[in-house]
Amino acid sequence: MVGIAHPTSMSNIEQLLVAGVLIPLASFLILALCGYRLGKPLAGWVAVLAIASSCVLSAAALVKWHGLDEAGRLAARSAPVLWAYLGSVPLAFGVNLDSLTLIMFFMVTLVSTCIFVFSVGYMAGHSDEIDGLSKFHRFFTYLSLFGFSMLLLLIADNLLLLFISWELVGLCSYLLIGFYFHKKSASTAAIKAFVTNRVGDCGFIIGLGMAYLYLGDLSLSGAAQAFAGQWQTHGPLFSQTFLGLNLATWMGILLFCGAIGKSAQFPLHVWLPDAMEGPTPVSALIHAATMVAAGVYLTARIFVLLTPEAQLFVAVIGCITLTLAALVAMVQTDIKKVLAYSTISQLGYMMLGMGVGAWIAALFHLLTHAFFKALMFLGSGQVIEGCHHEQDMRKMGGLWRKMPVTCGTFLVGVLAIAGAGIPAIWMPNHTPFGLGGYFSKDEILAVAYHRVYGEENVAADAPVGRGEAEASPHTGNTAVVAGAAPIQNPKSKIQNAALPPWLFWIPIIIAYITPFYMLRAWWLTFMGKPRDHHVYDHAHESPLMYLPLVVLALGTFFSSYYLFRPLVADAAPTPFLTAAFDGEATEAADAHGLLIGHTTHAALARIVGGAFVVGFFVAWVLYRRGLGLAEKLATALRPVHVLLSHKFFFDEFYGLVFVGGTMVLKAVSYAFDKYVVDALVNLSALVTERLSWISGTILDQGVVDGAVNGVGRGTWSLGGLARSPQVGRIRNYILFAAGSVAVVVLWMAFA
C-alpha cells in the first residue's frame, strides 16, 4: 500500500527538483495569461529566467546529492503523494530520486537554457509572420509548458505520471511543430507527429494495462519488485504465453512501443523529419536534445521490466533504425533534414545500447548527444536565419567567412558525433582522449561486441567488480566498463546466448557512414566556394544566437567520459534497478556483469577508431570541389539514390497501406452506417408504416369498418330481400307456403 505523504515532508533535494519543475509551469501560466502584454523581448526573457533558475536549482541539487552517501541518498527519497483513487487502486506520485534523474534534469535545463536564449534572438525575426499579430509570446508560452512537462517526465516515479508528462510533452511538440499553422505543411506535420506518437502510445497504454493487471503497481520500484516476484514464483506473466512469447516479454515490448513513437524508431520514425517544419530552436530542443531522448529515458526506466527477448527486440529495432536513418542522411540536401536523420540514427544507437544491455553507455550517449545535437541544430538555425530562410545546402557554401563562430562550433559538433578521438592504444598509459561521442558510441559497440562474441574476453580480463569505483578509467587497465545489465533474467534461455553478429557489424559500418554525412553537411554549408551569391551576400550571425552555441560547444567538449559517465554509472546500482532482484539474483547479475576489458576495447579501437578519419576523407574527396562529383555519382547509382532520397519510400508505403486502408475502412464503416444500420431502422419504420396502412386502410377501413358497414349493408339488403316477397302478390305467397311445406316434408323424411 502506498503511504500518503504531505508535500512538506519532502527532502531538500526533492524540494529543489519540484521547485525546478514548477517554475517553468509558473512561467507558462504567466505567459499564457499576460504574455501578450509583456511583448516582444520581455516574454522571452521571462521564459529564459524560469528555465535558468530551474537549471541553477538542479545544479544545487546535484551538488547536494554528490555530497550524500548511500544511506543519505536513500533517506532523501520521501513517500509519494496520493493523487487519486481509481476504483480501489491508489495512484500516488512522487519524485524518483536517483543519479540519473539528477543528471538528466541538469542536462535538460542547461541545454534548454541555451536554446531559450537562442530563441529570443531567433524568434525576433520569425514570429511576426501572421497578419502582423505577434506570436512571439506564444512561442515562449509553449516552450515553458514544454519545460515543465519534460522535467515532470524526468522526476516521475510512476509509470502513469510518466505517461501523463509523456503526453504533455507530445502536446507541446504538436503545438510547436504546427507553430506556423498558416502553412499547410506545418499543420499536416503536426498532426502526423501527434498521430504517429499515438500509435506508440496505444501500445504503451496496453502495456500499462498489463502492468497494472499483473504487477498491481504502477510505481517504478513497486512494478520492478512485483516483476521480480513474478519471475521467482513463475507467475502468470512468465507462465502464460501468447504467440510463443511469454506475457512478460509482450508487456516489455508494448511499453517499449511508446518509446518507439517518441524516439522516432523504426517503424514510427516518419514523423521526425517532417517535424522540422517547426521553428529551428524547437527542432534543437524538442526534436533532438530532449523530447526524443525521452524514449531512451523511458526504456532506461522500464529496463528492469524487459525480459531478454524484449531486450533483443529493442536492440533489433535500434539497429534497423540507425541503419536506415544514416543511409537516408547521406543524400539529404536540406540541412535540417540531415540533422533530423542523424538524430534518428543516433537514437537508434542508444536503443541498440539499451537492447544489448549497455544501460550506462546508452544514457551516456544520450547526454553527450543532447549537447552536440543541440549545438548543431542551433548552428543550422543560425545559418538558416542568416541566409534568410534558405535551408538547401546546395545553395550555401563558403559561409565560414561570414559566420566563423557558427562554423567553428558546428565543427565541434561534427567531431563529437563522428566519434573523433585518439584511441587508448595510441596514448601513453592507455588513457584515451576524445569528445563525448567517441566514448559513448564506442562503449555501446563494445558491449554489443561482447554480447555477440561471448565471454572469453571478459574471462581473460581483470576480475574487476561491477560499478564505477573499481573501474575508473584512470586505473588504466580496464579501459571501459560497460553499463552492465544487472537485471537480466538469469534463468532465461537466451541470457548467455550470443546475439546475432549483425547487431555488432552493422552499427560498425554505420559508424563509418556517420562521419561521412556529417562532414558532408558541414563542408557543403561552410566550406568551398559560395554557390548562391544572393544567399552568401546576406549571410550574417548575431551574438545573442552564437553565445549559446559557444556554451554548448564547451558542454560538448567537457561532457566527456570524465564528467558525465561517472554520474550515469552512479545511477545504475540504485535501489530502483537492484530492487528488481533480491540478493541471489544480484549475485547472479554480478557474475554475468558485462565487463569489457582492455583487449575488447583495443580490438574495437582497431576496428572503428579510425572510422571518423575514413568518413571525413571520403566526404572531403567527394565534396571538395562542390557538388559536381557527387551528382555524377548519384546519376551512376541512380536506383540507390532514388531509394535513399525518397527515404526508402516509407511515407508513400504508409500512405498507401495504412492511410489508404483506413480511408477505405472508414468509408466502408460510414456506408454501412448509412445503408445498412440506418436502412434497417428506416426499413422497420417503413414496415410499421405499411402495416399501419394495411391495418388502417385495408383492415380497419376495409375489414373492420367494412364489417360494420357490411353488417349494415347486409341488414339493409336482407331487409330488401325480406321485403321483396311481401309485396302483396298472392302468387308469391302461395309459392312461399308450398316451398316451405316441401322443405319441412323433406326434412322429416330424411331425419
Binding site: 493523487w83 487519486a84 483513487y85 481509481l86 476504483g87 480501489s88 487502486v89 501572421i130 497578419d131 499579430l133 502513469l160 505517461f163 501523463i164 508528462s165 509523456w166 503526453e167 504533455l168 502536446l171 504538436y174 504546427g178 499553422f181 498558416h182 502553412k183 499547410k184 506545418a186 499543420s187 499536416t188 503536426a190 498532426i191 501527434f194 498521430v195 499515438r198 500509435v199 502510445d201 496505444c202 497504454i205 496496453i206 500499462l208 494495462g209 498489463m210 497494472y212 493487471l213 483506413t662 475502412l665 472508414k666 468509408a667 464503416s669 460510414y670 452506417d673 444500420v677 440506418d678 431502422v681 419504420a685
Partner: protein, 542 residues
Amino acid sequence: MDVLALNLLIFLPLVAAVLVWTLPERRESLAPKLALAVGCVVLFAGAWLWPRLPAAMGDRGAGALVGELKADWIAVGNRDGTSEAATTLTNGFVLRFHVGLDAISMPLIALTALLVPLSIWCSFTAIRKRQREYYAWLLALTTGMFGVFAARDLLLFYVFFEFTLVPLYFLIGVWGGPERRYAANKFFLFTFTGSVLTFAGILYLALRAAQIDHCSVIDFDLLRLSALSLKQLTTAEQSLLFLAFFAGFAIKVPLFPLHTWLPLAHTEAPTAGSVLLAGVLLKLGTYGFLRFSLPMVPAGTLEWARVMGGLAVAGIIYGALCCWVQRDVKKLVAYSSVSHLAFCMLGMFSLVPVGLSGSVLYMVNHGLSTGALFLVVGMLYERYHTRDLDALGGLARQMPILAFFFVLFVLSSIGLPGLNGFVSEFAVLLAAFNSEVLGRWYGALGATGILLGAVYMLYATGKLLFGPVKEPAGTPDLSAGLKRDLTLREIAILTPIAILVVVLGIAPRLVTDTLDPALQTQVLARVQEASALAAAVAGGAP
C-alpha cells in the same frame, strides 16, 4: 433546505416554463432573460447541494441521500378500513414521488445544473423566432432531466425519462435545421419504441418483487427492487429483464448498432438541444444501466456482459471511423459521442470498481467536453451558416479565442493527460484489462479508440483552424450583434467548462472520493453476490 433545493431544481423550471409560455407577445424579449435567471437559480441550487453530499455520507454512510423527499403520488387499491391507517394500502399499487441524491446521481445533477444555464445563454443570439415557446420547452426539459437523476422510484424515473422526450422533440422539430421534422420523428419514435419495452420490464419486475416479498402492494422503490433475493428471481428471468431494460437504455446511450438516430438528431437540433442531448440526455441511458440493470438484475448483467463489452468495443472503433468521414463538423462531434459513450459502457460492463467509477467519471467528462464542443461549433455556425469542413479553414487566424477553446476541448475529448478526459479513459481501459468478465482483448481493442480519436479530432481541428484561411462568401454574418471572434458572453459561457476540464483533470478525486464507496455498496456488491451465487450453483451442480 436540501429538500427545498432539490425540489427547486425539479419544479422551478416547470413553473417558469408555464410562465414564459404565457408571457404576452410584447414581452417576448423577457423570455430569454427569465429563462436565464431560472438557469442561474438552478446552478446555485446545484452548487449548494454539491458539498452536502460528503457531509451526508460522513454521517450516514455510502448510501446517504441528500434532499430526500418521499410522498405517495398515485395510490390505487383498497385501503385499510380502520380510521387510523386510512392511508395505508392493503393491496393495489403505489407510485411514490421519492427523490434524493446519492453519490452516483450527484455528479450528473451537478453537470446538468451547469449545462442548463449555459445552454440557455448560448441561445440568446441563435434563436430569434418563437422565443417564448423555445425557452418554455427548454425549461420543461430541465425539469425532466433533474427528475430523472433524482428519482428514487423506478416508475417515477420512467415518468421523467419519457417526459424528456417531448420537449426535445419540439426543440428539434421546430427550431432545428433543414431536416428537422424527419430528425425529430426519428428521435422520438426510436427512443420511445425502446422505452416501451423497458416499461414492460419495469412492470414485470415490480410484480415479481411483490410476489417474492409476499407483499400485496406493488411499489417501485429503487432500494427494494435492488435488494430482491437473487435466488428467487431466476437467472433466465433476469436475463430477459436485462434485455427489456437494454431496449430502452441502449437506444438512449446509444450503443452500436442502435445509434443512427443520434447523429441526425444532433445535427438538426439547435445548439442548446445538442448540448443538453449530448451532455445530459445520453447519460440517461448509461445511468439507467448503472442504476437499474446492474443492481436489479445482476445475474442477467453477468450473462450479457460480454455481449455488451463486444458492442462497446465495436462502437468505439466503428463510431471513430464514422467520425472521420464526416464533412459536417457537428455530425463529427455527434459520432464521436457514439465512440465515447461506448467507452463508458466498456468501463461499466468490466464490472470492476475502477471501471464503474471510470464510467461515471466518463459520463461527466463527456458531458463537459462534448457539450463544450457543441457550443463552440454552434458559435461557428452562427457566424458562417455552414459547418462544412471543406468550406471553412484557417480560422485560428480569424478567431484566436475560439481556436483556443476549440483546441482545449478537443484535447480534453481525446484524453490528453492533465485534462479531464484522460482520467476516465485510462480508468476504463485499465478496467477492461482487469476485468474477469471481459479481459485483456477488450482493453487492447478499446485502446485503439484513443488512437482513432486523436486522428479524427485533430484532422477536423487541422482543417477548421489551421492552414490557409477559407470562409464562405458573405461571412462572417455578424448581424445578431456578434463579433468576428467570440464575444464576452460567449467567452463567459465557455470559461466555466474550460476551468472544470482542467480542474477535473488534475483532481479527479473531487468526484471519485464519494463515488467509489457508493458504487461499491449499491452496485458492485449486488453483482458480486450474483457472481458468487452462480459460482456456488456451478460448484454444487456436479
